[in-house]
Amino acid sequence: MIGQRAPEFTLPDTNGDEHSLRGPAVVVFTCNHCPYALAWHDRLMDVARDYPDVHFYAINPNDADRYPRDSAEAMKERVDADGGWPMPYLRDESQEVARAYGARTTPDVFAIDADGVFRYRGAPDADHGDESQNARWLRDALNGLRAGEDIGLAETEPVGCSVKWKP
């Protein structure tokens, strides 16, 4: 995966506006109901604020029929309750984008360079329970992208709830 071209996508956000992949980017598969996604959420939002030159996309691919807390309506309620997010929260209703990326968990994080090439994939950092980790692995990857340097830790094991595929 690392070094390969990231699949393009166009998906709707919680207001129905469509967003397409533009690099450099961070794509985070996430959701409303998973404690791992919730535990890392604020750290990922902070990264988005700290790297305004990078396009961030949160994508919820979960089967909302079986997990109603991940419905488009529930996504909008969450973003509105937060007063907005620093990245669009996109609905992958068909789950095609998640399949194209090989997303396994929520969260599952991908960093993509300006040429649309995967440069990092995995967890935001080493411990969902330790806020001081501060999404270090992802930040290191983005710093590497900015500097045009190789990313030392380019792939880590994503940690979280399994993506809830449709039957």
Binding site: H33, C34, P35, Y36, L38, A39, R66, Y67, H128, G129, E131, V159, G160, C161, S162, K164
Partner: protein, 103 residues
Amino acid sequence: MTVELLWWDGCPSYPETLRELEEILDQEGLQAAVALIEVKDDEQAQRERFPGSPTVRIDGEDVVPPGDGEPFSLTCRVYRTRDGRVSPTPDPEDLRDAIRRAA
């Protein structure tokens, strides 16, 4: 004392809870074994009244009782630690308190 750990393989959190349970039982000087119960489908989740993985029951009582209306399904439970953080596992002190109450 019966200690049950109900888990679902869509959630990676139960080994951490099992380790913490066994540590606390050992620290409290108790010999109770932890019965592992895998919940495999929605029918079983309903039957077991399983609000998500992991769920720990001591003498049949959930150590962190789910809220009213919490659905029973194959999902990961969202816990809160005592300092307010979201966690995929119960706060170890909640486990310890429940074990002490039952001992």
